[in-house]
């Protein structure tokens, strides 16, 4: 990847793709906003705005994945765990605050004002009653504070990545071993959350997250646009951040680690620190993406962070093209939108006469085989093909 000829002086000049990307994202965002229900145009339905907003969040976590895998060579099969943690952290506040309003309203009508204990019991009963308990687990102790939960969106994925990465990199667990280890991490987390005793409502997860406390009067059309814009902004910032990181000297070292870890170590660099930095920063970005994603999805539950989700993340990046940030964006957007189009019954079935190919049934087969073909024949993904075409012209 490293170019041997003379480097242009400014960041933008070295990375024209950043400018193109930001421009494209800006135009896209503007068009969607203007055509949405919120402005009254109604050409793009609220549910599609939500889909687009979620897709932007997936693009954000995909570029994080691209940095950790495509640039640093760590095939993490656990980055969706950080995404999920971000969702859970914000979800706790959303559930708590919404329930608190409901409880306050229902208790307000009584002759005697409620004690703090009564309020807390009632909230606990509302949130955990449906999963068969009513006590507040300690894990919820900061759930009443938006500020703390927002901090947790960043802190928990960051700390988990820091501890896990420190352990793993220190022991020089690399390559496929590390992949399997990260997969084990996300599996353990998913299994833990699946337990009802985990205090995060087990398989039911946290739901009703699309109802933002304090914004009961604004419709979902407005809320969906707000989150769509926030997601677009986060993606833009994330893109610039990662473009800047990969462009810097740090980025060069990271890519050198990918290409030959031992050689970089012999040159005197502390390889583990660089890897740990990349692993942690990308985990934090994944957490932020998750915190934006789940209020749009409306529900988060442990199945979201099952190992398969993280593998799909790798699939998107591989199809889009590793080692190019816009590749990750293309892959994530294309595959996830195509998936929902095919499984949503949007694609017409093909009648072969003797057999009707229903896309609901055959989409996954097509995706799987596409993936094999991309790996075999286009290892640099769609972006690689795109690059070749650009260079030729």
């Amino acid at each position: 990847m490293s170019e041997t000829h003379m480097q242009p002086r400014t960041f933008i000049a070295r990375n024209p793709s950043v400018l193109y990307f930001l421009a494209a994202l800006g135009v896209f965002t503007a068009i969607v906003t203007v055509l949405s229900d919120a402005t009254g145009a109604g050409l793009i339905s609220t549910s599609f705005v939500k889909t687009l907003g979620k897709t932007l969040c997936l693009c954000l976590v995909a570029i994080a994945m691209d940095v950790v895998w495509g640039y640093c060579g760590i095939l993490s099969l656990g980055h969706f765990a950080f995404f999920g943690i971000g969702g859970y952290a914000i979800g706790m506040w959303l559930m708590y605050a919404r329930t608190e309003l409901i409880v306050a309203e229902s208790l307000a009508g009584q002759v005697i004002p409620p004690t703090p204990q009564e309020i807390s019991d009632a909230i606990g009963n509302q949130i955990f009653g449906v999963v068969g308990s009513s006590e507040f687990p300690t894990i919820w102790m900061f759930a009443d504070s938006l500020f703390v939960q927002l901090a947790l969106v960043v802190l928990v994925p960051g700390l988990l990545a820091l501890v896990f990465g420190w352990l793993a990199f220190r022991s020089r667990v690399t390559g496929v071993y590390l992949s399997i280890l990260t997969q084990a991490m996300t599996l353990a987390l998913a299994l833990y959350l699946f337990q009802n005793d985990s205090g995060l409502r087990g398989n039911n997860g946290l739901s009703g997250l699309q109802n933002i406390p304090g914004f009961e009067d604004s419709g979902q059309d407005a809320i969906s646009i707000a989150f769509f814009l926030a997601s677009a902004l986060a993606l833009a910032l994330g893109y610039v951040l990662f473009a800047w990181i990969t462009d810097s000297k740090l980025g060069n070292i990271i890519q050198a680690i990918r290409d030959d870890e031992s050689r970089v170590r012999f040159l005197g660099y502390h390889v583990e620190s660089y890897k740990l930095f990349v692993f942690t920063v990308t985990a934090i970005v994944a957490g932020i993406a998750g915190a934006l994603y789940y209020p749009q999805a409306g529900i988060i539950n442990p199945a979201e962070i099952a190992p398969i989700a993280s593998i799909y993340l790798a699939v998107w990046v591989a199809i889009g093209g590793r080692g190019r940030l816009y590749g990750a964006v293309i892959g994530a957007a294309l595959v996830s939108l195509l998936s929902s189009w095919f499984t949503g019954g949007g694609a017409p079935n093909i009648d072969l006469g003797f057999y009707v190919v229903q896309w609901v049934d055959w989409w996954l087969v097509l995706l799987g085989l596409t993936f094999v073909l991309v790996t075999l024949f286009a290892p640099k993904g769609i972006a690689g093909v795109f690059d070749r075409l650009v260079r030729k012209s």
């Binding site: 280890l181 997969q183 299994l191 799987g368 993936f371 075999l376």
Partner: protein
């Protein structure tokens, strides 16, 4: 809510009810006129409702009357009743022994044994439930204990085993004399021993019977002991009396003991926060409660103040303080009393029970070890194919689980064509190997061959194949689980005692795992192919220059690994479920088995499977009510384990070691 089944609400054809009652009355009158002695049908008709839809608690009235009748037809009727062969005529309400064949039913008169046929439309089958059948079984004991048919005697003994009572002891003792069959005789002796221990007349006999149970870990024997040792909790403000098991300490759980006193009306009830709230709400006067304005009542202290004021006025019962509770409890002695009055008997039972429990503890440990071994062999079988492809070739095959699934579905398809389960299994095992061997070779040739220098990408490409295969299986076989049934001789379990037992199918999987272990070791260490495989693993370039064709070896190795997965699939399908997702359930576990054990070594995989299997069972034992937690902790352990031994228990050699 009491169970309101049958008797009241059973959906009998109600329109016929009146006619039926009338007809049976006519029939009753007629039959009383004809026969002086009552016959069976008459007795049945007097209890027609209860016979048609019996309940466990009330059926004994019918059974008592039938027993009084004493006719030989009674036992025949009871047996047929329990077997659901009694049919009732919808019109007349008469009962017959019947067997249905298509639309025709062959009816046998319960008294005369006369056989007739009739269309089945007008008859309803009686379906006594499990509880009633058990009561019928007990009633049949007296008839069956001395029956010439050994099966009947056995079923009588089974009934006694399930529901023992004192009245059966003399019957059993009387029947012992003529018993010729040694197995049945032994069982009778055993049951007499159990019954003597519980209901024997002489203390000495009972103690002797109890002490003879000290080496018996069976559930039955322990049941006898614990029934002798059954206790009830009592309390007194004087000296405890009777055969006391132990005196309880109320301070261990004051709330529970105090609640007991409240229930017995010996102490005033505690006032809960919600009681306080209700009381305050009921006593609001002009926005104040006992001089405290309602607006201030949002805190516990203010509420206590207001409540105290109300209590002082005598408008609410006073609060019960902690010291009140303690003082109240100190006035009483709580103790457990044996239901059995004779301390000699209970002492003997206690001592015997302690001895038995030690044995049971040992047996449980053995059983747990067997379960662990079985789980380990399942993990081993699932992972060994992966150990070959991953260990010897460094290829991450995410579609390995789907090969397991393919094997299982092969077994299912074979069973569709070959109905004999033994033969179908014999066909399925090699066929599953062949099918997955072929699939493995095809995958190696078409995909993996091109990716040998890009190990991380094989992971992704094979993942693509995995999701495609899974979905194809879903499209072909549907989403429902498919039956894969084990042959008769693999049904059941090897029972060493009631505590230690393991199903034959698990033993078979263990044997299968063992066979593959030996076979693989043999192939790898003793055959030309094995030599070549090891050579290619260590240095493909060098091996090629020695005249070995690495392409062919890779192909064979991959085929072998995949083939074993197919056979494992048949084994796993036999004991669990065959679905398109079954492979996905094993893939992560299999990878961990291989990684923990150490890549590239068959013994490593064995060690990994053993560690994971036993560990999981161990954690499950510590927390038996949550199997999911056991799996979570096991994975956490594996993550930590790999930090300290990154290359697994047995460190790898060859290509995989280069990573």
């Amino acid at each position: 809510m009491p169970w309101r089944s049958g008797r009241l609400f059973k959906t009998l054809t109600r329109k016929h009810k009146m006619i039926r009652v009338l007809l049976s009355l006519v029939w009753l009158v007629a039959s009383v006129g004809l026969a002086a002695a009552q016959d069976l049908q008459t007795v049945l008709q007097t209890h027609a409702e209860e016979v048609a839809s019996p309940s466990r608690n009330s059926v004994s009235i019918v059974l008592d009357d039938l027993a009084e009748l004493g006719s030989p037809q009674v036992s025949v009727f009871l047996e047929q009743w329990a077997e659901r062969n009694i049919w009732q005529n919808d019109e007349a309400g008469l009962f017959f022994i019947g067997s249905k064949d298509g639309d025709v039913i062959t009816l046998t008169d319960v008294d005369s044994g006369e056989a007739t046929t009739a269309p089945s439309d007008g008859y309803t089958q009686l379906r006594p439930n499990g509880g009633v059948r058990r009561v019928i079984g007990s009633a049949l004991v007296q008839f069956q204990l001395t029956d010439p048919d050994p099966d009947r005697r056995r079923s009588a003994l089974e009934s006694i085993g399930r529901r023992a009572d004192a009245s059966q002891l003399p019957l059993l003792e009387a029947s012992l004399e003529g018993e010729a069959e040694p197995a049945i005789r032994a069982r009778k002796v055993q049951l007499i021993n159990f019954l003597t221990a519980r209901f024997g007349a002489q203390t000495d006999d009972r103690v002797a019977a109890i002490e003879s149970l000290s080496a018996d870990t069976s559930v039955e024997a322990r049941a006898v002991l614990s029934q002798i040792l059954s206790t009830s909790t009592e309390r007194t403000d004087g000296e405890p009396s009777g055969n006391i098991a132990r005196v309880l300490d109320p301070s261990s759980d004051p709330a529970a003991f105090y609640a007991e006193l409240v229930e017995a009306d010996l102490a005033p009830p505690l006032v809960s926060p919600s009681d306080i709230r209700t009381a305050l709400e009921a006593n609001v006067v002009d926005g104040r409660v006992g001089d405290v304005p309602t607006a201030r009542l949002g805190s516990d202290a203010a509420r206590a103040e207001a409540y105290a004021a109300l209590a002082a006025d005598g408008r609410v019962p006073p609060l019960v303080s902690q010291s009140d509770v303690a003082q109240m409890l100190s006035r009483f002695t709580f103790y457990e009393k044996y239901d059995e009055a004779d301390p000699t008997v209970t002492d003997a039972a206690r001592a015997t029970m302690d001895a038995v429990e030690t044995r049971v503890g040992v047996a449980q440990t053995v059983d747990l070890a067997l379960d662990g071994l079985s789980l380990a062999s399942i993990y081993f079988l699932a992972a060994i194919g992966l150990a070959i492809t991953f260990g010897q070739m460094g290829v991450i095959n995410m579609a390995h689980g789907e090969f397991i699934m393919m094997g299982a579905y092969t077994g299912y398809v074979v069973q569709l064509f070959v109905p004999d389960y033994t033969i179908s299994l014999l066909i399925a095992l090699p066929l599953a190997f062949a099918v997955t061997f072929g699939a493995g070779v095809a995958m190696e040739r078409l995909v993996i061959r091109h990716l040998y220098h890009r190990p991380l990408e094989t992971l992704l490409a094979t993942f693509g194949i995995s999701i495609a295969l899974q979905q194809i299986a879903k499209n072909v076989f549907g989403t429902q689980a498919r039956p894969l049934t084990s042959p008769e001789w693999l049904g059941g379990a090897l029972v060493i005692s009631d505590v230690i037992q393991i199903s034959y199918i698990r033993i078979a999987i263990f044997v299968l795992a063992l066979v593959f272990l030996v076979l693989l070791l043999f192939i790898l260490k003793k055959t030309r192919l094995g030599l070549e495989v090891r050579a290619v693993t260590q240095n493909p370039g060098m091996a090629a220059s020695m005249g070995i064709n690495p392409d062919r070896i890779n192909m064979m190795t991959f085929g072998l690994g995949s083939g074993i997965a197919g056979v494992a699939g048949v084994g796993i399908g036999l004991y669990a479920q065959v679905t398109s997702e079954m492979g996905a359930n094993y893939i992560v576990q299999s990878f961990m088995t291989v990684v923990v054990g150490g890549v590239g070594s068959v013994f490593g995989t064995l060690a990994g499977a053993g560690l994971i299997g036993f560990l999981q069972k161990g954690i499950e034992w510590l927390n038996p009510s949550n199997t999911l937690a056991a799996q979570t902790y096991m994975i956490l352990f594996i993550i930590l384990f790999i930090q300290f031994r990154p290359k697994g228990i047995v460190a790898p050699k060859g290509r995989a070691a280069a990573d």
